[in-house]
């Protein structure tokens, strides 16, 4: 079995990105660079508290970082935080291809 315990690190990232609104916010930040909460609220078309809640989930997954300037909070994307997802894909890629090989040889042995 090739699955590593490190996989668990992908959990908050998958969780954060499983929601289409959060994905939209993250996409907007990667596409346009740093944005204020106000600008993101206009973009998402939902209430500011809802946007803030989504941002805090993204922050827990280290997918965004924020800074305060006066009365505004600015957010930026941290795409490097996707690394555990990429590792997850690589590990399962190796795992499943090896299993496909085993399936192929089993099929040869089975009755028609």
């Amino acid at each position: 079995m090739v699955l590593s315990v490190k996989q668990a690190e992908a959990k908050p990232v998958f969780h954060a990105l499983a929601d289409p609104t959060r994905r939209g916010i993250f996409e907007e930040l990667t596409r346009r660079g740093e944005q204020t909460v106000h600008a993101l609220t206009r973009y998402a078309g939902i209430s500011q508290p809802a946007v803030s809640k989504h941002l805090s989930v993204l922050k827990r997954a280290n997918l965004v970082r924020h800074r305060r300037e006066g009365r505004e909070t600015h957010y930026r994307a941290e795409p490097e935080a996707l690394a555990p997802v990429i590792d997850w894909l690589k590990e399962y890629g190796v795992f499943w291809r090896e299993r496909f090989d085993r399936l192929e040889s089993l099929l040869e042995r089975m009755d028609p």
Binding site: R23, L89, Y92, E104
Partner: protein
């Protein structure tokens, strides 16, 4: 035989391979517990939607090797999916079988998103694939 493999930055791993065997035979290998054990892992699988089962991998010092699963879709000779939860991470495995001239094309989609509502998930996944195209470009510029 070489696999069609899509290793880009999507949340879903996709592997396809054409096997020179009919769909009915592949279906048996995917759904009969003893055959499944020969190429995947020991298991108590039954092809019944809603049934919980477990794949048992070799135990490791920090993990008992159990993969907790639940059957979602069973369409004989066509489609099979189950939830796949390992190391606290929920994911979904979907098998699709398509007859082709030379046998059967087997497609595996293993998604890191827990898709409780398949319909909602499919809608979301469309945008996600498009998004990741952009992101891949961005990562290429900034990370490498």
């Amino acid at each position: 035989m070489s696999d069609q493999y899509e290793p880009n930055l999507t949340s879903t791993l996709v592997i396809e391979r054409v096997f020179p065997h009919p769909p009915e035979k592949l279906w048996r290998a995917l759904t009969e517990s003893s055959l499944l054990a020969e190429w995947l892992m020991s298991n108590d699988f039954e092809p019944v939607a809603g049934r919980r089962f477990r794949f048992q991998a070799g135990a490791m010092p920090t993990w008992d090797g159990a993969i907790d699963c639940e059957v979602q879709v069973v369409e004989p000779w066509k489609r099979l999916s189950y939830r796949w939860s390992a190391l606290g991470l929920d994911s979904v495995v979907l098998w699709t079988l398509t007859p082709v001239d030379t046998g059967t094309r087997l497609r595996l989609e293993h998604s890191g998103f827990r898709a409780d509502q398949e319909k909602a998930y499919k809608g979301a996944n469309y945008g996600w694939q498009k998004f990741l195209g952009n992101l891949e470009r961005l990562l290429g510029e900034e990370v490498q």
